[in-house]
Symmetry: C2
Subunit: 420 residues, 2 copies
Amino acid sequence: MPRKNAFYAQSGGVTAVINASACGVIETARANRGKIGKVFAGRNGIIGALREDLIDTSKESAAAIRGLMTTPAGAFGSCRHKLRSLEENRAEYERLIEVFRAHDIGYFFYNGGGDSADTCLKVSQLSESMGYPIQAIHIPKTIDNDLPLTDNCPGFGSVAKYVAISTREAAMDVASMCETSTKVFILEVMGRHAGWIAAAAGLAAEQEGDAPHIILFPEVAFQREKFLKQVQRTVKRHGYCVIVASEGAQYKDGSFLSDAGVTDAFGHSQLGGLAPVLADMVKSELGYKYHWAVADYLQRSARHIASQTDLEQAYAVGQAAVEFALRGDNAVMPCIVRGKGKRYRWSIGEAPLEQVANREKKMPRGFISRNGFGITEAAREYLAPLIAGEAYPESRNGLPRYTRLKLAAVPRKLKTSFKV
Amino acid sequence: MPRKNAFYAQSGGVTAVINASACGVIETARANRGKIGKVFAGRNGIIGALREDLIDTSKESAAAIRGLMTTPAGAFGSCRHKLRSLEENRAEYERLIEVFRAHDIGYFFYNGGGDSADTCLKVSQLSESMGYPIQAIHIPKTIDNDLPLTDNCPGFGSVAKYVAISTREAAMDVASMCETSTKVFILEVMGRHAGWIAAAAGLAAEQEGDAPHIILFPEVAFQREKFLKQVQRTVKRHGYCVIVASEGAQYKDGSFLSDAGVTDAFGHSQLGGLAPVLADMVKSELGYKYHWAVADYLQRSARHIASQTDLEQAYAVGQAAVEFALRGDNAVMPCIVRGKGKRYRWSIGEAPLEQVANREKKMPRGFISRNGFGITEAAREYLAPLIAGEAYPESRNGLPRYTRLKLAAVPRKLKTSFKV
């Protein structure tokens, strides 16, 4: 069997540990030099392939590749670009084949979420549909934790850990000042369609009365009166109230709270996030002094406090992707399988991409407490092991030392360019 | 000399390391049992004294007190309550003396910022003005870093570290996605009157082109056109632009940008912070896709990533306060003195409270770059050592293990109550 090269690309929103998956792919490929050629990474994801803008990872030192383990965000660049169907945009697929052929690429490793799984599935079918032999393996990654078949998604554990720690810390601040100052604190976290991230904040609580007191999930229709009553009850009982809200919190009709008509002086709408909308509700109806925070990108890039479990899993799925490819698999995704028994154990399984693409895993209703504002014991059991362990990066001058790659371009072989 | 008890209180906004100062006070007092009695802490700060709501720290184990080193926020509660002048509110001073006398308190340790220094100074004068013998020592604490005479303020180094790390991490996220997604990211940080915290974000940059590309200081009048041009120039040059903005960013006339007319559907104003105002400006004038974050309390409670230097200094000023008291000092504040020479060294000095109270230290103009959007080498030299060293807390189940004190109340001795 002639040695084929591999293409690797990062796709969609990045995470604190997606580069650990890249590290898993590249190190495993290097360990199998006899069977697999070079790993070329797409600069800025799949559009790097379309533009024939490839990065030669073989130019990076072993230390630099290892450094990916402690480096957040997408070291090769990522993008939001979903390949449409073959019928809709045949030109893109033809271009991919042209680039793959020019660079002798026989393996396609795509590191992303649900949309990327779909793209990866389409690429896996190129062999059949367009006669170009390629094995496509999807490497799961999403802070949203919404991929099916895998017990959890690499990237989620670290954002969960960040949110749980931040909630605990900020709540201590509020608790110590609430007698004369802020009584209500709102932390807005990511999660447009599913409340996994907000749910993780629930891990901050250890005892009755601990924050967060209210979690707002996209899965539970927001009821203004019920919410305000719960805030008031909490402040009366504990002196303060900490709320963690998914950005996707919505009314029964599906409209987002964050779209609730916040406008600036010029009438531009959708300026703010959800947190200020909730804060205003609390202030105008209950009169409590409030503060709010929006973690935004801070939460998904917080490598300084990444979960050790998450990091290991991110590496493992990258490693498994190469191993699956080398044994001849196509259109699959390494997934994380939770062992049975009380003590948390996990292993790597294999899921057919057809069953992954375009399916979203919502939080089970049994993870949300009866009043809709908290998590259940079942949720805690599921979530807790995912944030376990610290994986502190090396520091220099008080700051994490993150790797900078050379990102050397692979010389172009094609005369044609392609507009993305 | 009969052994007098001590009163300790936390005042104003809390920090990641104010409890380290409490630890310094309590451990040093315990080490000097022959000379000083118990340390009583005010529950929720000075109002605990006024209400005769004291916490008996002698009921806490040595391990619990040591645990304060790794516990953020105010373990005894803090408050925003400034004692007015003796003429304006004599009743409060009389009440303080009444409580101090009842509990045989001869030492007053007040852990706070500028306003607290003023309160502490007034208490130090009780001996003279009202005939009650007391030694009052102020223990510096403020994330704002705006106290005079001390080289820096405990609490600042940790928020500076948090902001520098968060900026570096979020910027990597933006950089890896900017080709097809967010081009402008805005992080709003604290600092109503001085830009120290925003300046610290500048430490995230190591090389030309690194984020943050624009820092907005309260000290530099905001010019809309100049700002927008700089954003555009940065995006054209680097593909993205990271902005770190002090909440106190203001126009030439002193009006805050955050007051710039953000209203909700009901016309309530001042809903949002500064970040969404800037984001809207960028979107409407330049059309770039943006994201923004508001760190709020997360930044000042982030004990998980506290600065080791800051932690040591916070402890040292608590320790020194007791030592100063035991040698008979009054109306003073331990301060941090920076050694000369290239290598950073610090020691504890002593500053007269009269020169501390009601004076605010702004950033030197020489710390802000000529275009007003960055920091100078002088600023870097000043700031860098303050964030040095990691002081990770112990973790359990993936979360920092923060101390919970018993907070046992000292039995009341007075019949009268006092309305605060």
